[in-house]
């Protein structure tokens, strides 16, 4: 017998009501039930951060959260970052700084950075950015472009 639940959640401003099994992860709900395939799964055990999304504004590993735990929550995924055609300042900075190659880790790094930058008052230095970016894994870029992009956006946003 499957243990199923009806949940309601908002993803990038859009409301969804779906029936999920209690053991189904938020990552699978987003990817396979709701079609937000931008959230990626790299390890399913909470280390790589490719599945990072914002749950009520906080970065979480969507592979470690059950879909039912997101009931009534506001979820932001990579698909919600750009304003229609226009990429966000952070997305543009990732491209400009060559902060992505295969792009598999990118949604996770973008969401992590988005949350980090929104909490920043001043402009963090490189070491501080590195320390936060060390929460996720990228196998392609050597991190240099990612760190640079986040630093640049922090500077831009600080004006």
């Amino acid at each position: 017998m499957k243990d199923i639940h009806l949940i309601a959640l908002t993803v990038n401003g859009e409301e969804h009501e779906i029936v999920v099994e209690s053991r189904r992860t938020l990552a699978d709900v987003l990817r396979h039930d709701l079609g937000y395939t931008g959230t990626h799964i790299g390890c399913e055990h909470g280390i790589c951060g490719a599945c990072t999304v914002l749950l009520d504004g906080q970065p979480v590993r969507a592979c470690l959260v059950f879909g039912v735990q997101a009931d009534g929550c506001d979820v932001r995924t990579v698909e919600g970052l750009s304003d229609g055609e226009e990429l966000s300042d952070l997305q543009k900075a990732f491209s400009r700084c060559h902060g992505l190659q295969c792009g598999f880790c990118t949604p996770g790094f973008l969401m992590l950075s988005e949350a980090y930058l929104s909490e920043q008052d001043g402009v963090p230095d490189e070491a501080q950015v590195r320390e936060v970016m060390a929460s996720n894994i990228c196998r392609c870029t050597g991190y240099q472009g990612i760190v640079e992009a986040v630093r640049q956006v922090a500077e831009e946003r600080a004006g």
Partner: protein, 750 residues
């Protein structure tokens, strides 16, 4: 207008930044079945029985066509490995933990996983071999030239070390995923998720299924990193399409990380005993290496090319008058091995450069000076070594090796590496500097094919045989096309790795996409350009010689206003056009092939500054410089990106990453908690010096591959830096230099 050499923003970026890439697990089909692989929990044993849970759809070796084995893609040295090939499902014996023994199908992936856990596999245990030296020898061969015995006989000094490289691998961030479906309209098998060598894989599959290769369509996809392991033909690459074909249902399979770490090719594990003969002035007279290569349980698609490349590239950029290498390829009860970025070169470079460091100390010569003295000079190139690898002769094509070494040392000094080293030491730190020089190879043939087509809107499409693995090849090929046609790269779309659009592709591996793929695209684009000029001369009624192309317009030289665009020409190439001759094919399009006999050899220098905590054994990499010669950088930003990413992987291989096994053959690294990859905290800011001083003579673009040089000497340079930091007289002996190992060295005080 040239697009080559521009730091053009990547074409891949907008879709990837929006989360709109198309990766293996991003698609589903209505009614699809999910496959889950049941894997051997034991390293070696006789398969007694497999009990299937009630009502579950389980497939075992009995159900698959008999004798289906993973073939060797690259046969070298005339060695037959038929006895050591992996079956797609184990039939009688299991030989490593993780070997597929059965698959389960279900409507839902969670259910498939549950059912797979209920499958009981009864295995009668057999003795397990973990140590390479105790393994079964699958192959033995020698490679070399010159009179090595004489060289050692007359040597003033002989230096010998033993060095081991640990088992690690690519571990791309995206696990493997496959979706296969039979299209009812065309009857063709549609496959999503095969990369790297899609045309080769299609042909292998067609043979295994006994169907025409044109009944298989491998689609272009994004892939979350390749680095050599992704896209090789694995057991699942047969099982998923075969099930879809026989059941006439879409079948999907997504690997989880624990599976990936035991299922996908491992790499690198070798033990070397290497010696060098020098005269009294420190001139190299000869080199000898005896290698024990651990290939795990089977020979897979790469056969024995990793050990072959190890030996063939071992002399590196040096003047080595006589060389002899022997390798024994051993099978053990561990995951089978294949290539990982810089295969054979990471291993060989680590060993050779450590040997040179030890030799420099023993000879009392500065280690940079010892290298400079023995590097082949620009005048000595091209230099042919009387041995071959990957079926081609080793001909070092062009370069200035000592020149790049000098440049790198000047740059490191300018950036403050040496002063930082001094000040750290003055403060009592165990700091050290490593310097390593290496030779790479790239642009393996034999061919690549590309199509370039201009549509009536003026948009240009390129169908290439490479695949997009994250390296930015779409951008590179768009730049090559735009350059040849003199158009804006923005109008160029590149499709890679679709076997219908490009049925003759060779794939993306061995740093060949830009070199061989780029050259094919260049040729096809030049052919389109020539055709466009021919057509324009008819349209404008002027001689071809009087036409010129500027910013996408073909016009009469010196007569502004009378010109046609590529779009106009494409319209004039439509069937029924008055400009088209009777037998002339319609369309402004060309397919061209680029064939190449020899590889092109990039080369580089790595310099690293490390600080060793003598209490904990922790090694911090403080500064890292890569200097690399690429002939010509189509997009310097992307070249730099390749180098930066390579260094990060190299730091992992040098310090952290290792697939360890216990005595029972149980893998000890099956999660990212035990397989440690570097994060932003372990990888320092990296300095890059991209040199374009020695264009490759063997291709029209003058390019040398940039895919691997960031990684090649990382093991070597970090081993050298640690040795320097600890003031060792001998070799560090082994990679990775984990904190535990470093502490061991400090205690031994060798």
């Amino acid at each position: 207008m040239t697009s080559i050499g521009e730091r053009l923003a990547r074409k891949e970026d907008p879709r990837l930044l929006r989360g709109l890439g198309r990766f293996g697990d991003d698609q589903d089909r209505p009614g699809q079945l999910w496959m889950r692989v049941v894997r051997s929990p034991l390293a070696h044993g006789r398969l007694v029985s497999i009990s299937k849970p009630e009502g579950a759809h389980v497939i075992t070796a009995e159900d698959v066509p008999p004798g289906v084995r993973i073939p060797v893609r690259l046969k070298v040295q005339g060695i037959d490995l038929d006895d050591h090939l992996q079956p797609v499902l184990a039939a009688d014996e299991v030989r490593y933990v993780g070997e597929p023994v059965a698959v389960v199908l279900a409507d839902d992936p969670y259910e498939a996983e549950d059912l797979a856990e209920l499958v009981q596999v009864d295995i009668e245990e057999l003795p397990v071999t973990v140590d390479t030296a105790d393994g079964t020898q699958a192959a033995e061969f020698e490679l070399g030239y010159g009179d090595v015995e004489a060289a050692f006989g007359e040597a003033g000094h002989v230096v010998r070390i033993e060095f081991e490289v640990g088992r690690h691998s690519a571990v791309p961030l995206e696990p493997r995923a496959l979706l296969a479906d039979v299209d009812p309209a065309s009857g063709a098998l549609q496959i999503f998720g095969m990369t790297k060598v899609p045309v080769f894989n299609r042909d292998v599959l067609a043979t295994m299924l006994g169907i025409d290769e044109n009944l298989i369509h491998v689609h272009a996809m994004d892939a979350g990193g390749g680095f050599g392991v992704r896209g090789e033909f694995y057991p699942e690459d047969f099982l998923v399409p075969w099930l879809a074909w026989t059941l006439r249902r879409p079948v999907k399979w997504v690997e989880d990380r624990a599976e990936h770490l035991v299922a996908v090719n491992h790499s690198r594990q070798q033990k070397h005993v290497i010696s060098a003969a020098f005269d009294n002035e420190g001139t190299l007279l000869g080199l000898k290496d005896d290698v024990l290569h651990d290939n795990g349980a089977y020979a897979r698609t790469h056969g024995i090319i990793v050990p072959e490349l190890t030996l063939a590239m071992l002399p590196g950029p040096y003047r080595v008058p006589a060389f002899h290498g022997r390798v024994r390829v051993m099978l053990t009860n561990k995951t089978p091995c294949g290539t990982y970025r810089a295969p054979g070169r990471f291993e060989g470079t680590s060993v050779r450069e450590q040997l040179l460091d030890v030799a420099a100390d023993q000879l009392g010569i500065d280690r940079v000076e010892l290298r400079r003295k023995n590097l082949l000079t620009a005048d000595e190139l091209p230099h042919t070594r009387a041995m071959s690898t990957l079926g081609t002769d080793v001909v070092l094509d062009s370069g200035d090796y000592p020149g790049l070494l000098d440049k790198a040392m000047v740059e490191a000094d300018r950036l403050g590496y040496l002063s930082r080293l001094e000040s750290l030491r003055a403060q009592g730190h165990a700091a050290g500097l490593g310097v390593a020089m290496f030779l790479e190879k790239s642009g393996l043939g034999p061919q690549e094919t590309a199509d370039v087509t201009v549509s009536t809107s003026g948009a240009v499409r390129v169908h290439s045989g490479g695949t997009s693995l994250g390296q930015g090849i779409e951008t590179i090929l768009a730049q090559v096309t735009a350059d040849a046609l003199d158009i804006d790269p923005a109008v160029v779309t590149v499709i890679n790795g679709d076997t219908v659009l490009q049925p003759f592709g060779g794939g993306s591996w061995a740093s060949r996409s830009t070199v061989v793929g780029g050259s094919a695209v260049h040729r096809a684009a030049v052919a389109v350009r020539e055709r466009a000029v021919r057509m324009a001369s008819r349209m404008l009624e002027v001689a071809e010689e009087d036409l010129e192309i500027k910013a996408g317009m073909i016009g009469v030289r010196g007569a502004p206003g009378s010109s046609v665009s590529y779009a106009d020409v494409a319209k004039a190439c439509r069937p029924g056009s008055p400009y088209l001759g009777p037998d002339e094919p319609a369309g402004l399009t060309a397919r061209r092939r680029f064939e190449v006999e020899h590889m092109t050899y990039p080369y580089g220098v790595h310099v690293a500054l490390v600080d060793v905590d003598t209490g904990t054994g922790h090694v911090e990499v403080l500064r890292y410089l890569v200097a690399y010669e690429v002939g010509r950088a189509i997009n310097p930003t992307l070249v730099e990106g390749q180098l930066l990413g390579g260094v990060a992987q190299g730091v992992g291989g040098a310090l952290l990453e290792e697939f360890r096994y216990d005595e029972a053959g149980q893998p000890q690294a099956v999660t990212f908690m035990d397989y440690l990859m570097p994060t932003a905290a372990e990888v320092p800011r990296i300095d890059v010096l991209v040199a374009q001083d020695a264009p490759a003579p063997g291709n029209p673009l003058g390019v040398k591959g940039a895919g691997e040089g960031g990684l090649t000497a990382a093991g070597a340079v970090i081993a050298g830096a640690i040795r320097d930091a600890l003031g060792l007289t001998g070799s560090v002996g082994r990679l990775p230099m984990t904190a535990e190992r470093v502490r061991g060295l400090i205690e031994e005080g060798t």
